[in-house]
């Protein structure tokens, strides 16, 4: 189970979001991932490490290469968590709509 806190912290960085977007189109080597950024390979590796520890990506051993890909479980868990939060807010305000309707009919009753 990925750690959601570290997953969101990992996503706070634009470079890491770009890396995830790149990996969304398929597996890539560290070199391929470093190419679009003006960054050294160690700097990219550091970002990959953060993403890996957050459970968002995984690595595979291919000879001397360590290609990375998205970890579906991590992405899905985060997605569900966010949908849940949004749903919780929506639920709150739907209930508030009902409370407001009750308040209105109560005050109308008092006026009569």
């Amino acid at each position: 189970m990925p750690n959601l806190n570290s997953a969101f912290a990992a996503l706070a960085d634009p470079t890491r979001r770009a890396i995830l977007a790149r990996l969304a189109s398929g597996e890539a080597s560290v070199m391929e991932l470093a190419k679009p950024f003006e960054m050294t390979q160690p700097a990219i590796s550091q970002h990959l490490k953060v993403l890996e520890e957050a459970g968002l990506i995984v690595r595979r051993v291919d000879g001397t290469k360590r290609p990375r890909r998205l970890a579906k479980a991590g992405i899905d868990a985060m997605d569900q968590w966010l949908a849940m939060l949004r749903k919780a807010l929506e639920k709150n305000y739907d209930r508030l709509d009902e409370v407001l309707t009750t308040m209105q009919s109560d005050s109308e009753r008092k006026k009569r």
Binding site: A12, I75, D79, L82, L100
Partner: protein, 158 residues
């Protein structure tokens, strides 16, 4: 249907803000009261299905305490504490809050505005987190349309 009109909007602003807007069919006075009267707050601030709020302390005056305790039959309980900073009936509330899980999360500074909108109210809740990382940890960026993770997932399905 009022579904579209009442739709919740949730977006980020700058590095540390989250802004939630929602329309209500009642006037600002009623919406403000529903946010400041503990007996009313207890009825709607419950989150997902299955949770109740056995303790609701909501002292709506500057310096007044906030304590909301939620309980779930299977999932246990947790609570939020906070303080009211400013109150302008019936248009504006400023408070701070933190969640205890059980360690306290960094303070979330919240300004809630209630503006008359026709016969109803436009509520704007602006949260300010201490830094970008905290906000990211709390909600993550770009949530309005389901945020990056959803985009990433969508991309990977295309």
């Amino acid at each position: 249907m009022t579904m579209t009109m009442n739709r919740l909007s949730l977006k980020t602003e700058g590095d540390t803000h989250i802004v939630v807007t929602r329309r209500f069919a009642a006037p600002p006075e009623a919406v403000y009261r529903a946010h400041t009267d503990p007996k009313l707050v207890q009825k709607w601030l419950l989150g997902p299905e299955g949770w109740s709020m056995p303790v609701c302390i909501c002292e709506a005056r500057p310096g007044g305490r906030i304590r909301y305790e939620w309980a779930h039959e299977k999932k246990g309980s947790f609570h939020v504490t906070g303080e009211f900073l400013e109150l302008e009936p019936y248009s504006r509330i400023v408070h701070v809050e933190r969640m205890h899980l059980p360690d306290p999360t960094p303070d979330n500074h919240v300004e809630t505005r209630f503006d008359a909108d026709g016969t109803g109210t436009l509520m704007t809740m602006r949260m300010t987190l201490p830094d970008a990382k905290t906000r990211a940890a709390m909600l993550a960026t770009g949530m309005e349309r389901g945020m990056e993770a959803s985009y990433v997932r969508l991309d990977s399905m295309l």
